[in-house]
């Protein structure tokens, strides 16, 4: 596979582990053990059993008839919104909690933007009886209140990140600092394909169940394993990485990454990293990120807390850099409109993050006969107050 990570932890020139010495032993332990642990039979058995009976996998692949008619294409939805806790995030937290247990860790930390990863982490910690601390930007705590309450009910401690833009980037900084301060008993469950190697590869592997199921589901429903196009929203890029994973080397399958343009790519209030980003280092990874000429990281903006991140995972930087993936950016207003379109045509209220992927249909170049899979990464319960505001305006 020429899009997989190399021995040094890089995808082409992106990736690596740019970490302070204080994290070296933790990252080294993870790097030397993750593949071996993931391949153990009892790990696989326990994970598969939980994914099936606890998470509710496989998630359906649903042919969206009315949406297809609307756009004059063949659109299938991969229903990650139907997972327990309401998004794809739990695919990763189930895997990482089982790994953390085998590494003998008793304390779990995580960062969260929309709160979906925080909820998914708090959930598996409750399931395993482990202590859970979730860092969340102060702004995100306000705009994703239902998820904050869910985390608390699940027994997690939610710690506000008050520095910088007070969103996902800053929550990630705080989680990294916590890990530096607690090197022995703590595992950091990163929520996306970001951070130092081996996280991007590990999280992509845990999310790869999405495309693994897509293959046989498409075969069943269309007669071919391969769609023409796979489209997913990209914050850090974990749901997209999972949806692309088993198709990375199938060059005839187009991969489309949908980013948040916020108020518009040129507005100064955006999170469209592939357009606005340059090569640099964020959270221990060399990738594309939004930064000033002086290397200061720019505070991003999106209506969607899960896409409000100034970088993308190194795999996606590599896919975009090599032309393997195309990028489309979608504004707040377009995403909101798409959320209502999907709701009225199919009776599915999507997460604001996922709504970006649907909005991209208006920009995508396709033929009427194309089979398009859109990864519906999460459900919209957490965004209801934003949707209510839109209805009232």
């Amino acid at each position: 596979m020429h899009y997989s990570v190399d021995g040094r932890g890089f995808y082409g020139e992106f990736g690596g582990a740019f970490i302070p010495e204080m994290l070296h032993s933790n990252i080294e332990e993870l790097k030397s053990r993750y593949l071996e642990i993931m391949e153990e039979k009892d790990f696989q058995d326990e994970m598969q059993q939980l994914l099936k009976n606890y998470v509710g996998r496989p998630t359906p692949l649903y042919y969206a008839k009315r949406l297809s008619l609307h756009f004059n294409a063949h659109i299938y939805l991969k229903r990650e919104d139907l997972n327990h806790t309401g998004a794809h995030k739990i695919n990763n937290t189930i895997g990482q909690i089982l790994l953390a247990k085998r590494l003998g860790k008793s304390r779990i930390i995580a960062e969260t933007g929309a709160g979906q990863h925080g909820v998914a982490t708090a959930t598996v910690c409750a399931l395993m009886g482990l202590e859970c601390i979730v860092y969340m930007g102060e702004i995100d705590i306000a705009r994703q209140a239902p998820n904050v309450s869910r985390m608390k009910m699940l027994g997690a401690k939610v710690v506000p990140a008050t520095s910088g833009s007070k969103t996902l980037k800053d929550a990630t900084n705080e989680a990294i600092r916590d890990w530096i301060n607690n090197p022995n008993d703590t595992h950091y469950i990163i929520g996306s394909v970001v951070g130092p190697h081996p996280y991007p590869d590990m999280v992509a592997r845990f999310q790869s169940v999405i495309s693994e199921e897509m293959k046989w589901q498409l075969k069943e429903q269309t007669g071919s394993e391969n769609p023409d196009i796979i489209m997913a929203c990209v914050g850090g890029g974990s749901n997209a990485a999972g949806a692309y994973y088993h198709y990375l080397d199938e060059d005839q399958v187009r991969l489309v990454a949908v980013e948040a343009a916020g108020l518009g790519v040129d507005s100064g209030e955006s999170a469209a990293t592939s357009v606005l980003g340059t090569k640099g280092i964020i959270h221990g990874s060399r990738t594309l990120l939004m930064q000033t000429e002086d290397g200061q990281i720019i505070e991003p903006y999106s209506i969607s807390a899960g896409l409000d991140y100034p970088g993308i995972g190194p795999l996606h930087a590599h896919l975009i850099d090599t032309g393997r993936a195309e990028a489309i950016s979608i504004t707040d207003a377009e995403a909101l409109e798409a959320a209502f379109l999907l709701t009225r045509l199919e009776g599915i209220i999507p997460a604001l993050e996922s709504a970006h992927a649907f909005a991209a249909m208006s920009y995508l170049k396709y033929r009427p006969e194309d089979v398009i899979v859109i990864n519906l990464s999460g459900r919209g319960d957490k965004d209801l107050s934003t949707y209510i505001k839109k209805m009232e305006s």
């Binding site: 040094r8 690596g16 582990a17 740019f18 970490i19 302070p20 010495e21 204080m22 070296h24 032993s25 520095s163 910088g164 980037k169 900084n173 990294i176 600092r177 530096i180 301060n181 607690n182 090197p183 022995n184 340059t278 090569k279 640099g280 280092i281 964020i282 959270h283 221990g284 930064q291 000033t292 000429e293 002086d294 290397g295 200061q296 990281i297």
Partner: protein, 259 residues
């Protein structure tokens, strides 16, 4: 000879390295702080290049950096402020910052500018040893700047030896598994670690940093290493003494040294 090496040749113990954030509390305090620290008898000065996302730093240094950036600090401004510093002092000067800053400025351009203003060494906490060897060692060695690496209680003996081979100037011993930030006590586990590294007879001198905040912790550090590094405690001090900067620096250093 590099000014850091000269200093360690002359002075064998009780070495005091003070960190401050460039552009804090006011944009143009850089020269005044350096000269006041020099007069107060500090041995090495670490100039922090303020960064938006300083992952190895605690709240005190991060907040000073945010303020410095708001004040308008950039690398160009900093290099400009330091243009004539070498006509005023010969104290060893280090830059402390993050790899992304150096990368965006351009490695060659950055190193040339450091050499031009008379910087003696670099501390880049998120530059891992393997990336250094692969991408930067040749250039940094050619520049004559020293690269200062960190070790922690978790760093294996083999790795400490490897870092000792690659490092120049001195080794930065992180006192504890932690981010920067003033703590007031040193634990027995830390003392064991200090003694363990002390017994390794490394070729580079060592300074102990992170959590050194007063005379007692400075003294303890000096028993196991050539000296210590003080950052957050100094930043806290100057944020309380904005206007009376010069006098207060003398007072802070005297209290640390206990004289």
């Amino acid at each position: 000879m590099n000014r850091i090496d000269q200093m360690f040749q002359k002075k064998k113990g009780e070495i005091l390295n003070i960190y401050f954030t460039a552009g804090f509390p006011e944009l143009n305090d850089t020269e005044e702080i350096i000269l006041a620290l020099d007069r107060a008898g500090v041995d090495v000065i670490e100039i922090g290049m303020p960064y938006s996302d300083p992952m190895a730093d605690g709240p005190t240094i991060q907040e000073s950096g945010s303020q410095a950036l708001k004040n308008g600090m950039t690398l160009d401004v900093l290099f400009n402020q330091l243009k004539v510093i070498r006509s005023k002092t010969q104290i060893p000067l280090l830059f402390m910052g993050y790899l992304n800053q150096m990368m965006q400025y351009g490695v060659d351009r950055f190193l040339n500018a450091c050499v031009a203003v008379g910087i003696d060494g670099l501390i880049i906490p998120d530059l891992p040893v393997d990336i250094y060897e692969l991408e930067l060692q040749e250039k940094i060695e050619k520049s004559g700047l020293h690269i200062i690496f960190l070790i922690t209680p978790q760093t294996s003996e083999a790795r400490v030896k490897k870092i000792d081979e690659l490092a120049g100037g001195f080794i930065y011993m992180v006192s504890n598994a932690s981010i920067t930030g003033a703590k007031s006590e040193i634990t027995n586990a830390q003392l064991d670690y200090f003694a363990r590294i002390n017994a390794m007879n490394l070729k580079n001198p060592r300074l102990i940093g992170f959590g050194i905040s007063n005379h007692q912790t400075f003294n303890q550090a000096c028993q196991f290493a050539q000296g210590a590094i003080v950052g957050s405690a100094f930043i806290k001090h100057i944020s309380q003494h904005g206007n009376a900067l010069k006098n207060s620096i003398q007072e802070f250093v005297s209290q640390l040294r206990g004289n």
